[in-house]
Amino acid sequence: MSSETPVLDQDGMQRALTRVAHEVVEQNPDAEIALVGVQRRGAVLARRIHPLLEELHGREIPIGDVDISLYRDDVASRPAAPVVHATHLDFPVAGKTVVIVDDVLYTGRTVRAAIDAVFAFGRPAQIKLAVLCDRGHRELPIRPDHVGKNIPTAHDDRVNVSVVEIDGNDSVVIASR
């Protein structure tokens, strides 16, 4: 039997993202911030917080997104070749404080792949990690800098993030088995 527990609704998600945006600016006041979303929902979330971030930071913040399919560490063990989405990084990353944005932080493998992907475009000054949800169960020594909401989960739970732009609604739900 599986059950679904709502964690964030539309308002909750908005509040969490707003808090993250504030944190990013507060903790990096003098940095040349650049925003990089992880395809696909991380990229959507990055675009959501981008205007607020520019407003708070008081200057232009370049934004891009990366697809990590070609950087995964499990390419050989998946049943079929993954769909590779476009990567858009049309600004120089060298010297920037690159904030990687993703929806859920779990094992840390996606973030590791995203860091590799960013490095393929140059050498940033710093890389920071902002996530909507941290559900724990890390397999790599990776820690988020900015978290919208911490969600305790069991290993075999699924955390489903929906965004209006892709899924038609905003919500975060834990599906337990």
């Binding site: 697809d67 399919s69 070609l70 950087y71 995964r72 560490d73 499990d74 390419v75 050989a76 063990s77 998946r78 049943p79 079929a80 070749a81 993954p82 590779v84 989405h85 476009a86 990567t87 859920v104 779990y106 094992t107 493998r109 996606t110 590799d116 992907a117 490095f119 393929a120 475009f121 140059g122 397999e139 955390v159």
Partner: protein, 311 residues
């Protein structure tokens, strides 16, 4: 899909899938680090029984951009006739556990045979005059990127049809994408039954070349042609050379290379604004990356417990 043997196996949907993938992976070349770790630690073995600098280096570069290890084995033509059999060579090569074998062989059907002898993904990089599917994919990729949908477009493939695996693969691929293909060449280089076999029209004259949206010239094998299939290259050129006098300004020109300037195609046309020849070369690496990724990423069911780990 374990292997890529001929273009027919892909169908239109398969071709489009690989073209889309090629568009994404081609971005890698524009990054500061022109390399992604997708195939790290896996071996791609190029086994070439015929010399082809262009195709080997294109496959090598594609594999390296995906971080695969690459070995290239070149067997001389004579060792095909005598000495180690193809099967023994494959058995030996299999000891290195390659993830993919890229095979160029003078015999039709060689890649299909090899696919039955090895667990590695087999990519046909040319089997005799039969098939060269990655060439066909890069041709379609180049053309679609330039003119979009090929439905209803008329494509003339001109030259030595008889000995051309490029003609056999690309004609089929263009056809699958909705184009209408005409095969044109001297009667001695246009085998009986080829039109019906490939679903194309045939012509021995360039008279109606004006109807073509795209003119695809084939390389003449100079050394084996003269005095045999054609009386002379001079006579061939006078009837079949693609030059600006025979082309109108809205016709595009393609050629698989290497070009014999002034034989099958004039230098001015090769270098002219309607030539897609250098785009074809550039597409080659992206298409081969896409094919390697398509065949080598995924498929190992025994390791699927990793799959859920990466959310």
């Amino acid at each position: 899909m374990k292997d890529l043997i001929s273009i027919d196996q892909l169908g239109r949907a398969g071709i489009e899938r690989i073209l889309a993938r090629a568009n994404e992976v081609s971005q890698v070349a524009s990054r500061e680090v022109q390399k992604v770790p997708a195939l790290r630690g896996r071996l791609v073995a190029n086994l070439f029984y015929e010399a082809s600098t262009r195709t080997t280096s294109s496959f090598e570069l594609a594999a390296k951009r995906l971080s695969a290890d690459v070995i290239t084995l070149r067997a001389s033509g004579s060792s095909v006739e005598k000495g180690e059999s193809l099967k023994d060579t494959i058995t030996t090569l299999s000891a290195y556990s390659p993830a993919a074998i890229v095979l160029r062989h003078p015999c039709a059907g060689a890649a299909a045979l090899v696919a039955g002898w090895t667990d590695a993904a087999v990519i046909n990089a040319g089997d005799g005059a039969h098939a060269h599917p990655t060439q066909a994919l890069l041709d379609v990729h180049t053309l679609v990127n330039r003119i979009g949908d090929l439905t209803g477009k008329r494509i003339w493939i001109v030259g030595d049809i008889a000995h051309s695996r490029v003609a056999r693969s690309s004609a089929v691929a263009f056809g699958l994408m909705g184009a209408r293909v005409t095969l044109c060449g001297p009667p001695t280089l246009l085998p009986p039954g080829i039109g019906a076999a490939l679903g194309c029209e045939t012509s021995t004259s360039l008279e109606r070349l004006g109807e073509a949206d795209v003119v695809y010239g084939l390389r003449m094998q100079l050394e084996r042609m003269e005095g045999v299939a054609i009386p002379s290259l001079r006579e061939y050129s006078s009837y079949y050379m693609i030059d600006s006098g025979r082309l109108s300004s809205n016709q595009l020109v393609m050629h698989p290379g290497p070009v014999n300037r002034g034989v099958e195609i004039s230098g001015a046309v090769v270098d002219g604004p309607h030539s897609l020849i250098s785009e074809q070369v550039a597409s080659g690496v992206a298409i081969r990356m896409a094919v390697l990724f398509e065949l080598l990423a995924g498929g190992d069911v025994s390791k699927q417990h990793h799959e859920t780990v990466m959310a």
